[in-house]
Symmetry: C2
Subunit: 162 residues, 2 copies
């Protein structure tokens, strides 16, 4: 069983997999007479030719580290954004594609003020809060057709903090 | 100056203006082998014929009640969802349309686990957190063309708790 260390999530490290949704750097616009900064249009959203955008709410059971990672999944028809509705860090697992199966996964820990958008077709772990209430808004593709591919590892990984 | 009392936000009271995004009632689906509930596709999203969905991050300065409400705005070309990235209640102000101008506003206080989606063209107040960090994910229309109409009240209102 290989060990995967969960590192701090950064936009640079996450770039091959999608976008970190956060207020890093100056805002793109200041609105509401100076009272609000807008970090504008930060996600690469895709919903395919037969889908559309939707907002769902997920409530997931919190997990604890170290944790066994036995599968990842991907959505071939669209992107998927996990937007935390709390200030707790959560675990983000992604993996590069290697000829149709996931390569070695990477794990990241958010800083409590970050969401993520997984690019279309990106291997990723399921929603993994580490604290209650485990509440997230999710922006993903609504539409007919298969949009979920799961990959179970022959040998599970262990994800832990460094 | 008229007084508007901020009431608890409920889906029923908010229905004329859009949707409350929350985990009320049983989930529509249980996913991730029982570890996650999905309240599916809960927002009436519209982005017009020339727009598309985008996710932005807003960070707004917290306000305090009682508060002066001197304007509301609307987006004629699309819906707008405010998804809190904290567990703090925030203030939601909406107004019915009365021949092209806002009627008497209504004010709601979220319960700390609710987001809102304003239906296309709905008069609403600007993003109004009552606590730091004032961080929200916003799903709204990205596109060219005018999509903001502001209305300033001749006589401002005061919003306060009951």
């Amino acid at each position: 069983m290989s060990v995967i260390l969960a590192r701090a999530l950064t936009a640079a490290a996450f770039a091959p997999f999608g976008e970190v949704l956060e207020t890093a750097g100056p805002p793109d616009k200041i609105i509401n007479r100076g009272l609000c900064g807008r970090w504008h249009d930060r996600a690469g959203l895709e919903f395919g030719s037969t889908g559309r955008a939707g907002i769902s709410v997920f409530r997931a059971t919190p997990r604890a580290l170290p944790m066994t990672l036995d599968m990842v999944e991907r959505h071939p028809e669209g992107s998927q954004a996990f937007l935390p509705m709390s200030e707790h860090p959560f675990l983000v697992v992604v993996a590069p594609d290697a000829d149709g199966v996931p390569g070695t996964p990477l794990a990241f820990l958010t800083d409590g003020a970050q969401g993520v958008n997984y690019a279309r077709g990106t291997w990723h772990g399921v929603l993994t809060p580490l604290n209650g209430p485990g509440l997230f808004a999710v922006v993903d593709r609504i539409g007919e057709g298969a949009n979920l591919e799961e990959h179970w590892f022959d040998t599970p990984h262990t994800v832990r903090l460094p």
